[in-house]
Amino acid sequence: MKNSRRRFLKIAGLSFLGLAGSRMLPSSSAEAATAPAEERPVYRNGERAFNARHWGMVINTRAFDNAEIFAAVISACHKYHNVPDIASKQEVKWIWKAGYHETFTDQLDNYPAKSVVERHYPLLCNHCVNPACVRVCPTQATFRRSDGIVAMDYHRCIGCRYCMAGCPFGARSFNFRDPRPFVADVNSAFPTRMRGVVEKCTFCSELLAVGEMPLCVKASNGTIAFGDLSDPNSKVRKLLAENFTLRRKPTLGTEPSVYYII
């Protein structure tokens, strides 16, 4: 055949154009029509789940005046979440007890009221609006959810402990060793942790998901209030409007979501 090379190039060029052009045509609508009305499987929230735009906590410290209430609140949390009981520097804690000067380091008053200084305060993760731990986490194992809870995804934690260095409240604990031998009675409804991960309070997000209040709130006989800080009619906002409250280390700008009625 004459000019065979030229012919070949022509055909090749034409078919290339045809191919490229067909991509630009709207794709056939047949595909869309066969899609089912509602796709399965679906992932969604539970019907009874509690929702909020900004979960927060208001603690009436005046009522935290005896060892029993601290014990009740701490053991309710630690027992359910399989928090190991290690009495050393390798201690693991989600909620704990501290004195005035340790709690409110920003209060520089020379002669604070005796009742306030002698009181003890329950401390826990502050679920900050600007959480330092989240900014430094290299794997996004800790992150701020849209409802304000600073959550932990233990599966992603590589144990680098940056978050512990970042958190100004000491709310995070590292598992220096296998925690299982230090959990007296393992709650089989909740996982433990393993050596080499960091853990902390999660505002009981697993319970909020099934319409239950956090365990410390339930164990506190009404002295800890929990609710939506963004809703002016919520219980927590009412308490804040009626009482003088402090937050821990407000000057650092992390914006804690836990308030203490003094």
């Binding site: 969604r44 539970g46 995804d153 709650n187 409804a189 996982p191 433990t192 393993m194 998901a209």
Partner: protein, 126 residues
């Protein structure tokens, strides 16, 4: 052949080593699916049985991301049934005999999920 004295034995040794896995398993018993202890009181899994056998690892991965990262803790299966997303409180309440179910199949397939370092095994095992 040039240097055949060295090359021929070299090729033979190479072939012997290369095919070693075939010789090693020659005549070994054929792989058989282990007999699993299925739940006694229940008849259906979350998804059809063959789907579960083939994709339960992806399902569990998606479950944990959905539950912990998206906060979605309910799964509506392809059979339109609702399940609470939980390894311990959903899967393992039916598959109480972990040793004779999950472990048996995993061992015969040389898989060892690290989930149980943290997740609590059902008491049915002990």
């Amino acid at each position: 052949m040039y240097n055949a004295k060295y090359i021929a034995p070299g090729i033979l040794i190479f072939l012997a080593l290369f095919t070693l896995p075939f010789w090693y398993n020659f005549g070994a018993p054929k792989y058989e699916r282990p007999a699993l202890a299925l739940p006694v009181t229940k008849t259906d899994c979350i998804e059809p049985r063959d789907v579960m056998a083939a994709t339960h690892m992806q399902l569990l991965d998606t479950w944990r991301d959905m539950a912990l990262r998206q906060g979605k803790r309910v799964y509506v299966s392809s059979g339109d049934k609702e399940w609470t997303i939980s390894l311990q409180n959903t899967c393992m309440t039916c598959h109480v005999n972990k040793a004779e179910f999950c472990d048996k199949c995993h061992n015969s397939n040389s898989v060892s999920p690290y989930c149980w370092d943290c997740h609590v095994e059902p008491r049915g095992n002990k």
